[in-house]
Symmetry: C2
DNA sequence: CTATTTGCAAACGATTTGCAAAACA
DNA sequence: TGTTTTGCAAATCGTTTGCAAATAG
């Protein structure tokens, strides 16, 4: 049973997961360790904010690959729970690396102007979520929650500062 | 300044807004009262759940029009605050009619299997939302929140019952 | 009469897919 | 070697747009 969070920190996001550990997880999933795959994991490893397929593709260096391969791999990595998909409201999927055992459940505060993304610790109260489900006869209730606002920089800047 | 809600009901959603009042609001916005426009408002008026452009288009009867016209009109009606756009997580925009003066802020509980949509009164605590913004130097903070689960029907049904 | 709105077809952007060649195990 | 993965191009899906014809006020 999924346990919605109350208040907690996400230390795992700060820990640099060694690439070897990630490839090991690939291996355990009976997946092949390919150049593109390692490169994609490496890009995610060095970024804190969720990245889109296109952003990941652009960030690939020497070990680049086709954009379609990026899409395919992120779907695979999501199934394997090596990454988590986020929907920040624009029609673009974004991904974050996931630590082993972590369900990656957390939320974001996104700047409406410059799209700066901040990770948020707060979560919708688990007891109220459960009550909402109960009241309407739903089970296995989860939620999607994102915050939007104007970051400090964009409050003063006339033009978006990316 | 937008006022995030605490706990409240949404009686306006239950009131059938007369078509004449809706067209009056169009008029005040210096918009023309066209057949397609009235038909679209009429479809929304008789539905409780948020509808996609395609669903609205399909529900148009005699006064049908091009799908592109539906898209254009829903964008216009959104700007005029006659409807509110919802993002339920699949890549499809959905719309609900909005009562005058209402900001339409509320959330939904969506069945993962059959896509049944229930309107929810609970909202993310306004004080915590404000605190989240303050802590990160953001202003004008709002949120997007939707719940997902298995409705009572789909808990037993082996196949989705739409 | 004149600005707005419509229909139609083409354009778009994100994502997926078919298929044969390339690469891991 | 045999299965997985890749590149490439084409297809899909929701949505937008250009343009000339139709229409509301």
């Amino acid at each position: 049973m999924k346990q919605p969070c109350g208040q907690h920190s996400h230390p795992h996001r700060l820990i640099q997961q060694p690439l070897t550990e990630l490839t090991e997880r690939l291996r355990q999933g009976a997946r092949k360790i390919t150049g593109p795959r390692q490169a994609i994991l490496d890009v995610l490893r060095r970024h804190q904010s969720p990245l889109s397929n296109k952003e990941i593709h652009a960030a690939l260096g020497k070990e680049s690959c086709d954009l379609a391969t990026v899409y395919r791999n992120l779907n695979t990595l999501e199934e394997m729970r090596l990454v988590r998909r986020f929907d920040l409201g624009d029609g673009v999927a974004r991904f974050e690396l996931l630590a082993e055992g972590d369900d990656g459940h957390h939320h974001h505060l996104v700047c409406r102007k410059c799209s700066l993304v901040v990770e948020i610790d707060e979560c919708f109260p688990a007891d109220i979520e459960a009550e909402i489900g109960r009241r309407h006869g739903f089970t296995q209730v989860s939620h999607r929650l994102e915050f939007f606002g104007l970051c400090s920089r964009c409050q003063v800047a006339p033009k978006p500062v990316v």
